[in-house]
């Protein structure tokens, strides 16, 4: 069985994220790029599955973007993934999730993966759609916000899904499956020294979008602009005696914000 883990390279949010003068992208002079943190849980889950389940032969890491995202693949190979797939797509930030999913599906469909794992969302756009879009495009069953997965037999997996307000649910799925993994379900491992040295021996298959012969991948949404949210309202100060302040606060919380 083969697992493919989708991993995205995203701007490091610890840097100050600012909009550039074109209003369509962020300033990158001060921003390093890192592997999307939620995806690291997906990779760890895949590596744990391979360690536990004999029938899983290969963990493949797939990343799409500009050439710098090959580093994301190398980091994953250093941690124990077997092979990488890099889809060279420098136009990615202008494409909506559906367009991106179609490109990735075209590459992945050749290989008939049994399991697709991805993080629950990316820390940059946060659409939270890719894993499920791929499930539909690749005709797989799926579950989102997965907190744990167990094989019941060769073709059935039981997953624990997180629901709102502290509820959970088990769900049984027939392979092939696409799972989006909730952050925190495992502790992503470090890459060992031997792991890093071993990256040289592993392969990264490279695909160009133009070679894929896709027809309908133009984005169906268009970015009008990026902007820094500015507060338009000025602060309304509440004054008076303590009792008066409290009364006004209760009024606001009850009638305006409606939380009591």
């Amino acid at each position: 069985m083969k697992i493919v883990v989708l991993m995205k390279q995203v701007p490091n949010e610890d840097a100050a994220i600012k909009v550039d003068s074109s209003n369509k992208s962020i300033i990158e002079d001060n921003v390093t790029f890192i592997t999307n943190e939620p995806d690291t849980y997906g990779l760890e889950e895949a590596l744990l599955m391979k360690e536990k389940i004999e029938s899983i032969d290969e963990v493949v890491v797939c990343s799409m973007g500009s050439s710098s995202c090959q580093q994301t693949i190398k980091d994953a190979l250093a941690k124990g993934a077997d092979r990488g797939i890099f889809i060279n797509n420098s136009n990615q930030s202008n494409q909506d999730p559906l367009s991106r999913a179609k490109i990735i599906a075209k590459v992945l469909e050749k290989e008939n993966f049994d399991i697709v794992l991805s993080g629950l969302q990316s820390d940059d756009d946060g659409y939270a759609q890719l894993g499920i879009l791929l499930a539909e495009l690749l005709e797989m069953n799926h579950a989102s916000l997965v907190m744990g997965a167990e094989f019941i037999d060769d073709s059935t997996v039981k997953v624990k899904r997180e629901l709102e307000s502290g509820w959970f649910q088990w769900s049984e799925l027939k392979l092939p499956i696409s799972l989006t993994i909730q952050s925190g379900l495992n502790q992503p491992r470090y890459a060992s020294l031997k792991g890093i040295m071993g990256v040289k021996k592993k392969t990264i298959d490279i695909f160009e979008v133009s070679d894929l012969e896709l027809n309908d991948i133009d984005s169906k949404t268009e970015l009008v602009k990026l902007f820094t949210p500015i507060k338009t309202k000025t602060t309304e100060y509440i004054d008076g005696s303590t009792d008066e302040i409290v009364e006004k606060l209760v009024g606001i919380m009850k009638n305006e914000i409606k939380v009591i």
Partner: protein, 552 residues
């Protein structure tokens, strides 16, 4: 995993630290090894997540080392911002007055040099290393130097990963690995934590001047097109440091409408309330500087100490099984304000020494002492020797310092024209006790959030991050000193000299406590250097932690 099962990785040569010195050294060594038919396993370990993330400098780079290392490359293919086009030196006064020096002496001129980002440069060198087969292990922090039974350095032990704040193992705990090497080259940069141990253990500073440091605090700004040209270089004296504090400001033009502004403050000042971050903000209140920045946007902030002591403050550069390179060994020309080319050259000289060592199969002092011989025969020595008394001349103030520097230019580096070796002084011992007369330099400083920023906002722009769940990497050897002695004597200067608000005196339950916000640390080492009691010991944090600088 028990102690017995600790993983070992045997290689031939290990470079500790992935800065300019190690990268140049490893690359040169790799090539020389192939030329000499030696099959050497060479590796670099670096504590940052990627090469360049912890690199910070001005910088104006003398290209000669890069040209030596890459003789076949066109100078335009080096990752520089621009050749130095306009060179200015200004004396500033807080009133707004600005006086340009009409003439910059040749020894201090930057003509023929390039404005550069050290981060960009090291990333480029890192790529070259990987292309040519040198293993770079990121992120791996060095924790301990390893010795054999004869006290010969045999490698280093990496730091355990996955230890929580109580010192217990987390689920992803991984024991540190012993990387064993025939030669270990220490290129940790300024005030290297393992180099510090090595220097102390083997008394490598015997008969040397004590090292003295400065701290450079800088910001990168995005400015409107046309504000500054790439290749513009300006250095400033006067405001804000004045006559008594060593240092000065710099403004460099980089590509992409980036303005690089910084201030270097000598870490041998007297006033215990000096705050290098605040000094940089004061520099920006000068009307000329304010005007340059007024329509710009702050992108990045960072700080790093630099070894200013010069030639006589360099330690002995070798011991059995080990060599010291780059800033860890003080390869910095304070007069020319340049160290990157010297760092790279030191790495290359170390590489040549190591080739000879492998040919002779001798990794002890007898063979490694060739490093100092090669250094003495090189242009690096000639350059550092001429600047040997630069910093020491400033002990009596900037005016004397400049006079000394000027005279030195004509006398091959003699102090005030005639002193061959001037006395050095330990920086932290220059700090005077806090009294009622201690001047508060910042009473009129207000942070406007547009040009000047408070420390917390600046630290946010350093993109620094540390896993909260770990033992703080800033160790106070004797914590009782803080409120039993230091508060009274110096007023807890750590709150001021740290450019990242790591140290905070907090009032709690009618008591005072030192809060260590270690996750703000930008790895500049100022605290390790300047603490008057030398009770702060900086060690490497969890691998990968620290700033995430892109083009600093």
């Amino acid at each position: 995993m028990t102690q017995n099962q600790r993983e070992e990785l045997p290689i031939d040569v290990l470079f500790v630290g992935g800065g300019a010195a190690s990268l140049a050294g490893a690359l040169h060594l790799n090539r020389q090894a192939k030329e000499n038919n030696l099959d050497l396993e060479i590796a670099i370990i670096e504590k940052a997540n990627e090469i360049g993330s912890h690199s910070l400098s001005g910088a104006v780079v003398d290209p000669r080392s890069l040209i030596e290392l890459f003789p076949d490359l066109d100078i335009n293919s080096f990752p520089f911002e621009a050749p130095v086009k306009t060179e200015r030196m200004y004396f500033l006064h807080k009133s707004g007055f600005k006086l340009g020096f009409p003439y910059i002496p040749k020894g201090m001129s930057h003509h023929g040099c390039y404005v550069a980002s050290l981060g960009k440069l090291t990333r480029w060198l890192g790529e070259k290393c990987e292309e040519e087969g040198v293993d770079i292990f990121c992120p791996f922090s060095g924790d301990e130097v390893l010795y054999d039974e004869n006290d010969c350095v045999v490698g280093i032990r990496t730091r355990d990963r996955g230890i929580d704040k109580n010192g217990d193992q987390k689920p992803n705990y991984e024991q540190g690995v012993d990387i064993k090497a025939k030669v270990t080259v220490f290129g940790e940069g300024t005030r290297g934590s393992l180099s510090k141990q090595l220097i102390s253990k083997f008394d490598l500073m015997k008969d040397k001047n004590p090292q003295v440091w400065a701290v450079g605090v800088k910001e990168l700004w995005k400015v409107p097109e046309g504000t500054i040209d790439p290749g513009y270089v300006a250095h400033t004296l006067g405001h804000p440091l004045g006559n008594k504090i060593f240092g000065g400001g710099f403004i460099y033009g980089m590509q992409n409408n980036i303005l690089d502004i910084g201030l270097v403050t000598g870490l041998d000042y007297n006033n215990p309330t000096i705050d290098p971050h605040h000094e940089l903000q004061l520099l920006k209140t000068h009307s000329w500087v304010k005007n340059l920045l007024k329509d710009g946007e702050l992108l990045s902030y960072g700080a790093k100490s630099l070894p200013e002591g010069g030639y006589f403050s360099m330690p002995k550069l070798f011991t059995n099984g080990a060599l010291l390179i780059g800033d860890s060994a003080g390869f910095l020309n304070g007069m020319r304000l340049k160290g990157i080319h010297l760092a790279m050259k030191s790495g290359m000289l170390a590489a040549e020494t190591i080739i000879d060592a492998f040919k002779e199969n001798d990794f002890k002092e007898k063979s490694l002492s060739n490093y100092e011989k090669k250094f003495k025969a090189s242009w690096a020595h000639k350059e550092l020797y001429k600047a040997r008394n630069f910093h020491q001349g400033f002990k009596k103030g900037a005016l004397f310092g400049m006079l000394n520097a000027g005279l030195a230019l004509y006398t091959g580096g003699r102090g005030f024209g005639f002193i061959d070796r001037m006395e050095g002084h330990e920086g932290h011992l220059e700090m005077q006790k806090k009294t009622k007369q201690t001047i508060n330099r910042y009473k009129d400083l207000k942070f406007d959030g547009k040009i000047t920023f408070d420390k917390a906002t600046d630290v946010y722009h350093s993109a620094t991050k540390h896993d909260e769940d770990q033992v703080p990497h800033l160790k106070i050897i004797d914590p009782t000193i803080c409120f039993d002695k230091c508060k009274e004597e110096y007023g807890n200067p750590c709150q001021y000299f740290c450019p990242a608000s790591v140290y905070e005196v907090v009032e709690e339950n009618d008591n005072e406590r030192l809060q260590i916000n270690f996750s703000n640390c930008v790895h500049c080492k100022t605290c390790d250097i300047m603490d008057p009691y030398q009770t702060i010991n900086w060690v490497t944090p969890e691998s990968g932690d620290g700033p995430a600088w892109k083009n600093m």
